[in-house]
């Protein structure tokens, strides 16, 4: 507990109204999505923070950091706070909710660089950028995530990575309140220049603060970040009709098209993914698993259940790649569409017509699909099948409806991870090592096998097993797929099964050399993977000890439970 004097000291730093130590507020910051994954007891509640503070400036954060250097408390900053890694690791943790730091400091239109504070959300920045013909990469938890967090502090796959890269690699300078309380700016802005590089002079010291994952608030607070922006050569705004939750675009946007590509096999979808990258056709792409396609075709869970139970989707849509093609000009757009069509054809795939298909149609084709193991393989062998498919038309509204769904996923980031929750109360993820497009599918296959027994027992949602979601990066240079599953947060048996799946997958990725998974961060995970990866975890602990000798920052998501944590807070966990 903070003493009266300590509270006064904190209030003197940020102002009385921005220090919250009342129980309701602290409890509100003690529950997160999947927070039961953080303790062996399967409790929904995390540690209750000692206080919640909402600072406004780096200087205030610096003073708060110095306070924790002197006292038996730790800081844990977060920006939008959606993911469980924002949770406090100890009852001695003071959470820094950075929502008051919400300014877009600068947009350099000519050089395509933005400088933002922690609470600038992807969708807000994107809305502003489109007015200037620019865009920003957003990770697939959705448009409500913090751009600073995805760039400097956390991690995340993102659908526009096909052309806009992995967000850690889009960092162009960062301002950092270090664990000592010193405010340091790395890279070009630290030397007085504009925000265009985080590397140098000399060694790229930014390597300390951001690898595949970031430090998740375990090594100081990042207060500004420079972000590399990309082109947007379509309309600055769009208009919709309809109402929540289903808005529909009034019309197509210029130089922009979305395509749903279906392939009969893994080999064919991966071949196509590489070729699309080489031709730079894919402004964004997403390997959309069959269950998510069915979800996108329906407006509610009853429809989803009916549609999924036809059995058509697992056979028809096992290997679907959704792609956004975006041209700088009409000519370029036309070239890219032509290239895409050629690639799909030579890869033995089929472009689904951009038409919302009436659900009753699936009941009609159900018997045909039951007869064959891989009906798409047969369909794609029909002469002129693409031309026949292209002639299928229903209505303009049905076309716009499906187009809008794809647009919101592939471009606008308005319906990403959260959209996938609709079918259950909770979602877990696993595997998700980053390397090649081919390796992504190996991971998807592996985790589908791990999930299957739990699906058969009814412990987790029957999504067909393969809910591998991801795409390409840097025009096919890199690839990523993570293994998602859906479970019931209200059912202890479902939670237990989920935890078992994720734990098995962690060991499986080691045995199968499937890379370092998305969950491989924080003390227990680094302890598990480090010995198989040149003991990288030892360097993390050395960095923490050297830069934060007084444990001023809660490091459960970085180097492990902090020295200051209570003994019962130093236990392991399985993050998902």
């Amino acid at each position: 507990m903070l003493t009266v004097d300590e509270l006064k000291e904190l209030k003197d730093i940020v102002g009385q109204e921005w220090v919250k130590d009342d129980l309701p507020t602290r409890d509100a910051y003690s529950i997160y999505y999947n927070s039961s994954s953080l303790n062996k007891e399967d409790k929904l509640w995390t540690a209750r923070p000692a206080a919640v503070i909402m600072p406004k400036t780096p200087k205030e954060i610096s003073e708060l950091t110095k306070f924790c250097n002197r006292k038996d408390f730790m800081l844990k900053p977060f920006s939008t706070g959606w993911i469980t890694s924002s949770a406090p690791g100890s009852r001695k943790t003071i959470l820094l909710d950075l929502k008051r730091m919400d300014k877009i400091i600068d947009i350099d239109i000519k050089n395509q660089i933005a400088v933002v504070e922690p609470y600038v959300r992807a969708i807000d920045l994107q809305s502003e950028l489109w007015k200037h013909g620019l865009n920003v990469h957003a990770v697939s938890c959705g448009g409500n995530h913090s751009i600073l967090a995805s760039t400097a502090a956390a991690w995340g796959y993102g659908i526009t990575g096909a052309s806009m890269g992995y967000q850690a690699r889009n960092m162009l300078g960062v301002e950092w309140v270090m664990p000592s309380g010193e405010i340091l700016t790395l890279g070009s802005p630290g030397d007085g220049a504009e925000w265009f590089s985080t590397d140098g002079p000399g060694p790229g010291v930014r390597g300390l603060i951001r690898g595949f994952q970031g430090t998740f608030g375990g090594l100081g607070t990042f207060t500004k970040v420079g972000v590399k922006l990309y082109r947007w050569d379509s309309d600055p705004e769009y208009e919709v009709h309809g109402g929540s939750p289903k808005y529909v675009l009034n019309r197509e946007l210029p130089n922009l098209g979305v395509f749903i590509l279906m392939f009969p096999s893994k080999k064919q979808i991966t071949d196509a993914g590489y070729k699309l990258g080489e031709a730079e056709c894919n402004y964004s792409d997403f390997r959309m698993p069959a269950f998510f396609i069915a979800l996108g075709f329906t407006d509610n869970n009853l429809e989803l259940k009916q549609l999924w139970s036809t059995g058509v989707f697992p056979k028809l849509a096992r290997y679907v790649l959704t792609v956004c093609v975006h041209g700088h000009s009409k000519k370029e757009y036309q070239w890219k569409v032509k290239a895409l069509k050629q690639i799909v054809k030579e890869s033995g795939g089929l472009i689904l017509p951009m038409q919302q298909i009436p659900l009753a149609a699936f009941d009609i084709v159900k018997p045909f699909f039951k007869m064959f193991k891989n009906p798409l393989k047969l369909i794609t062998r029909i002469p002129f099948i693409q031309e026949i498919t292209d002639m299928m038309k229903t209505s303009e509204e049905m076309r716009l409806k499906l187009l809008t769904t794809a647009f919101f996923i592939l471009v606008r980031h308005a319906n990403n991870s959260q959209g996938g929750f609709r079918a259950s109360s909770g979602m877990f993820t696993s595997v998700g090592a980053f390397d090649t497009w081919d390796m992504g599918f190996e991971q998807a296959d592996y985790i589908a096998g791990v999930k299957r027994p739990a699906i058969e027992k009814g412990l987790i949602l029957d999504d067909g097993g393969d809910l591998g979601s991801g795409g390409t990066f840097d025009f096919g240079h890199l690839g990523y797929i993570e293994g998602i599953g859906e479970y019931s947060t209200n059912d202890p048996e479902s939670r237990k099964a989920t935890k078992a799946i994720v734990e098995e997958s962690l060991h499986g990725t080691i045995e199968r050399s499937l890379g370092l998974p998305i969950a491989a961060f924080g003390g227990p995970m680094n302890q598990l993977f480090g010995p198989h990866c040149y003991n990288y975890h030892e360097m993390i602990m050395k960095i923490k000890a050297k830069l934060d000798p007084n444990s001023s920052y809660d490091s459960w998501t970085y180097s492990g439970a902090s020295e200051k944590a209570f003994p019962d807070e130093k236990e392991g966990y399985t993050f998902f």
Binding site: S188, A193, D199, P203, G207, G211, K338, Q342, M439, Y534
Partner: protein, 488 residues
Amino acid sequence: MISTNILNDLGQNNTVETSLDKLKTYEVSNPLVRSGRTPQCVIKPKDVPELQKVIRKAKEGKFGLVPVSSGGPHTKGGISCSANHAVVDLADWNKIPWVNRRNRVCFVEPGVTYGQLNNFLQGYGMTLPTPLAPRDTKSVLASTIDREPHIWPRMQWDFQDPVACTEFIYGTGELFRSGAAGGPGTLEEQRKSKGAQKMPMGPGQTDFQRILIGAQGSMGIMTWISLRTELLPSIERPMLVAGDRLSKIIEYVYEVQRPWLGEHTFILNRLAAAMLMTCGNPGSFDRIRNSLPEYICMQNIAGFERLPTERLEYQYEELKNMAGGNGLKLVDKVGEIEAPALLKAAQSPCGPRDWRHVVKGHCLSIFFLSLLNNSEKYIAVARESARAFNIPDEQIGIYIQPVIQNHACHIEFMVPFNPDDNHEVENLKNYEADVTERLIKARAFFSRPYGKAAEMVFKNNPGNTELIRVIKGLFDPENILSPGKFNL
């Protein structure tokens, strides 16, 4: 002194050179740069375990190690060391152990050169973007881990590209692999799971290799790197835009780069262009230079495996319009320079000596990063300073290279000089000090500090410099690797 026992021990399995003539070739060959000490010996380790042994022996014998991968002459000063040291020469490690077309990746050992690598990759329909006309013996590894810019900025997302993964040895002698190569599993096991050692970050929450990149050998010794390679164009139409007004060319480059149009691009002033084009034939230097306008910009257009001709055609139309919109013309030839010849010169090894050195025997190079629209400001700074040292504008070569998809740019000023003319050398030393200071004041960012910049730039951001010291203590606690580098 390095003890005879240690030299004998290391000499059992490795080549150890101690002859003064040989050692002198590892001194910095630049009268403008503080030369440091002559190395005590040159060690050419047989393999990785022997290299680890060399590091352990250096710790035992209390001498430093300076890694070298390129052949001489060494002019920038990266290998300069004022402490008692041995050179670890890895230039003979020149294998390309693995290549994979599907994932556009290859592995190179430290001694692989650009000419060697691109000849090899051609057989796979691939290429690696090159710096502007690298020396014949320039190590690909040394160049890329120094963040040296290359001439295909559209293909560079991040400053550490094209480096994908690395294997390196800490100053403690421990071996490490970074990025996806870090594990789990061996490289072969990872490939069996369809990994290809492309992901550069990690393992985990640290970007280990980024700390070695730009460190000039002071944080670890790399034994191989994997590189992201690109498709070789199947059809090309190199073009030029040129003129006396840089501002027009800059506007054109912004317009082209924003939507990722075109391929290789760079801007040279007429002195730099003539230097590059005549490095094999200095006799034609004046003729070529006098034929050129003030600035010339390479604009390559290409098609690859997919609809190459149609791609080239639509891009040509767009680029022609963009040039016209900026009062420029997209042309095949400017003065005595034909676009294909310039592109070829830019992509090919330039010979045993740096092309900048051919005109007068040596060249002062001052380079830094900024934004493209700051170029003219920095040219004015360089010229203003030069006037104080009686260096006319026309004796300053200018090379402007957009990097990371034109979100930043490398700006380089080149002043050719006669290394045997003491007066000229002294004048240029003073010019370098003055102009570097002025540029720093004008917010130039010396990301890759050499020469005078290395002495000045670390004072700009003391917190960052202290952090480098902390990392040095973690990666090389005994200060074995390039001791004294960056005053660490």
